[in-house]
Point group: C2
Chain length 311, copies 2
């Protein structure tokens, strides 16, 4: 067995776990497979919110208080944009624009997203591998009581207010996994494959909707462990609980584990959660991740559960 750990992750919550792993083991042995279903084009710029949250978090540049974007960001661009009557519902920080402008330029020259992200990570001396789930476009679409909405229209512009009926991932069925993704998931000598405590429906499902990724997860003998995104039986932030209710699900770790179904070998749930009736091996820990010590603790607990499953 090598020390390699691969994590499927969305943005904020997942990035905290990935950072915890990087502080708990050799960071170069950590591979994050990141949701790109939230990616979109705004003002002609190619924006990859979850990828960028990983970059900022692992480079120590994330704005912790705000929960997204860069520390020490400035907002002169948005002021000027407003003065020109530009659409301003999606906040683009001045420093954040550097990622978007360079990414857009290089994508336009035909470069793959995965290669661009690898360069960004290298420039910021990030040892962990950050892999977009795919270099092909996959777009999360939310079917709501206001009709079908693009993800950012639902998430940012409409602040998750519309009631969700279903979610689909346009392009996923034909998307190839990005280079390195299947290799990481198929490396039988890995220590664990983790599913981060990101939103299962909006952040993890797009990754699982790529056929080759789901197949690799189904076939691997490496323990697959999910960290439940619920803490004390509720979502830490974001629309997870509201979404689960709208989709007719119980807001519980049991429902999360059932959602992932046969892909899972184990689930880590919060110690404050109500007693659960789980048909998959599980462990409990304090899964709230405010400090770096919290993040290391959750990483340790998830890896400990995976190790115990290896038998």
């Amino acid at each position: 067995m090598t020390g390699r750990v691969t994590v499927l992750t969305g943005g904020v919550g997942g990035a905290k776990l990935v950072l915890g792993l990087c502080h708990s083991m050799k960071a170069e042995d950590v591979t994050a497979i990141v949701n790109t279903g939230d990616d979109f084009t705004h003002h002609g710029l190619a924006i990859s919110p979850d990828i960028d949250t990983l970059l900022y978090t692992l480079a120590g540049k994330a704005n912790a208080a705000q929960g997204w974007g860069r520390e020490g960001e400035s907002w002169t661009f948005m002021q000027a944009l407003r003065s020109l009557n530009g659409e301003d519902w999606f906040a683009l920080g001045d420093g954040d624009l550097a990622l978007h402008v360079l990414r857009t330029q290089r994508l336009g020259e035909g470069e793959a997203l995965s290669s661009i992200v690898a360069d960004f990570a290298s420039a910021w001396r990030i040892a962990a591998k950050i892999l977009p789930m795919s270099n092909d476009p996959v777009a999360t679409r939310v079917q709501s009581d206001e009709g079908e909405l693009e993800f950012q229209q639902y998430f940012v512009k409409r602040r998750c207010e519309p009631a969700v009926r279903a979610i689909r991932f346009e392009g996923a069925a034909f998307a190839k996994a990005a280079p390195g993704v299947i290799e990481a998931l198929s490396d039988e000598r890995s220590r664990a494959i983790l599913i981060a405590p990101s939103n299962p429906f909006l952040s993890i499902d797009p990754i699982l909707a790529i056929p080759s990724i789901r197949r690799a997860l189904t076939e691997t003998t490496v323990p697959v462990v999910a960290v439940s995104p619920l803490v004390g039986g509720a979502a830490v932030k974001g629309p997870t609980a509201k979404l689960m209710r709208e989709l007719g699900l119980e807001v519980s770790a049991t429902a999360v584990a059932r959602h992932y179904g046969e892909l899972l070998d184990g689930v880590l749930i919060d110690e404050r959660d109500p007693p659960a009736c789980l048909d998959v091996p599980n462990a409990r820990a304090d899964t709230l991740m405010n400090t770096i010590d919290d993040r290391k603790r959750v990483a340790h607990a998830a890896l400990g559960l995976a190790d115990s499953l290896r038998g």
Copy 2:
């Protein structure tokens, strides 16, 4: 005769004259036909330096001390760009990016530059008309002792250091004047057509290289008056004097007037210039434009000369 005045102009020096005109007459009667030979694509963004200098100057947003860009600009984008190893020889301010991002987006959607610029000017309540010389691409290329350079490579990256042998305007021969340009130049009831004290070779020649513009200037009966860019026999700033020497010309208002040749009906030269032997009607004034009063004075002097030529 109407009060209409049309000005051919480059960036900084020319914008000062246009502002002086806007403070000396009804601003909505001023039409600026602006050089776009300096326009280029950088990091995938469509940048129009002279157009933007006009926008900033006429909107009262120009950085007077610096001579280019916006007042109160911030530079977070450039810091982030450098951290990602992005090319940083061309400075893109955070607020300045709003013009570039919106312009790039709208050009990409097929909109004409002239229509985009009109919207920007309207958003900033600029009463004067700002017209790009053309919506077609025209690119100034500098043939130098280091080979042929793109304009911004010569002007910004190489700081005008290479010795210039010749200048050409790629695309100009086939470029159409932007909507409104020929109409402005052909309005026989106009009071004057002015050539701003911009660099004749780098900022005015690209405009004159468009066949329909040159023809309209040749055919008009409206007085055409140039303001010499030389003050006290030297260039105020920029490479005008160095360039004239490299092109084998005397650094004098006489040489500037001869360069424009039969297009000119008169030339306004600085009162500190040495005695000149001019074969075109001329007047002298203090043409240095530091304050707004200076700019009004030069505008008055140029219009006075034009009025006197109407006979």
